[in-house]
Amino acid sequence: MPEKVAIVGWGQSRFEGDKKDIHLGELIYETVRQALADTGLEIGDIDTVIGASCDVVDGRSISNVFTAEAMGAFLKEESKVEEDGAYAALYAYMRLLTGPFQTAMVVSHGKISESSPQTYSGLICDPFLLRPLGIEAITSSALQACSYMTKYGITEEQAAKVAVKNRKNGLKNLNAQIKKEITVADVMSSPVLASPIKKYDASPITDGCAVAILATKKRAKKITDTPVWIKGVGYDQGLYYPGYSPLHKLESCEIAAKKAYKAAKIKNPTEEIDCAEVYEPFSFYELMLYEALGLCGEGEGGKLIDEGTTEFGGSLPVNTSGGAMCANPIMSTGLVRVIETAMQLSGKAGEHQLKNKPKTALAHSTSGLCMQSSIVYVLGV
């Protein structure tokens, strides 16, 4: 499905660990206005609004009740996807493909500091089999890390290299929350959260909001000279109970990537994808994602990071923005990956712009424990 819908503008709030001083509505309002300013559009030019937020994060059931107006959705055709914003962008994309809408705005937000990533992820657990154990994001991911590393002989140092690489990339990203260079030794000596995951393997706690404006081909060209086209998208949901899944691989991501590649007519991702932004809540996940996305062979994630292929100056840079390692605004992290990819493709990434402007790039997001669900976009110019 080439060149039917484009990403034409965006806004990102500053990503911070604790936006205690800002009301959620204010945060959204300012970010939406930023996105509108980016495109030169007025709120009246937006045909449909899709939100992405979560009751449990907000501590307000039906989270869009009090935020829809701050998104500019009053008397508009609005809906809310209760997943990461990358899934809301998918729904906006579907709507734009049908005809009545020419522009769509995707707004994702979360102030996780008002609650906690532990309660957010812990409540994903069913009440009978998982919740009694204290399973949440860190512990479920740690089980997965153990399984993956054991199966393929991946070392903790190799995982640490992801944290080092992404934090280095984050130094150049104005929006990044974490701006601190670290070494593999720093990661290895940071306190263990749940083995083998250590403090610096983990993404930070981040509040934030992200907005993307999408438009049909006809409208996109009037809005911007640098539209970024959605060339293909694939998404998939895998098994829920971690004991049922082959934890050493990310099946849903493999399938999502295959679907996205097929839609975008990508035959050889390592050759055809110029750069990627992936959602890596913990360092080792980026290695697993290399494999699932077909950027290297099975079990070769560690080798890919060792060879420096995915470094900023490598042949296939991954997370030039610093990724989730530098800011993990829950509900928005995936949409930020889409936006960052669009920034690279349109040449608007500023200080962290790749020297050789990419033509085709990949954005990934995920939802659920152990990356149960995945969505993959292929974007291009």
């Binding site: 205690k20 009301h23 959620l24 509505g25 204010e26 309002y29 701050a70 008002e114 609650s115 309660t119």
Partner: protein, 152 residues
Amino acid sequence: MGNDVISQVKAKVTVPYRWSYGSSLSRFFYETKVNKRLMGARCTKCGKVLVPAHRLCGRCFAPTDDNWIELSDHGVLECFTVVYLPFPGQPKQPPYAYGMIRLDGADTQYPHLIGEIEFDKITTDMRVQAVWNEERKGDLYDIKYFKPEEPI
């Protein structure tokens, strides 16, 4: 034995939160606490006055004027209910009455309790006025409730 089926698993879930007031609500409740004033904000586009004062007008998506307007603490009860329905963990024990009050000078409604009147005497469109709490913490209960307006 052997074929027991558990029919219910009981547990209590408690999720802690820390909700931010943000600049507008902080300032609004600062005014109720310190100055016993209800403040509204005027939309820079349509001119309507929002209470509590907010950063934006939902209708126009325009920001409100930073110069807030002091509103009367009298107004009209536009609609109301008397709650008798009980449920576990209810924040306020029934029976009680609350409604939406259009304060004089405001274009939106302010929610609050209705007091000092027998429930069956409450009517829509009646004039009401705020009864302020002596001790105020900077929240909705800086006003105890609204009561029928006293004749001037």
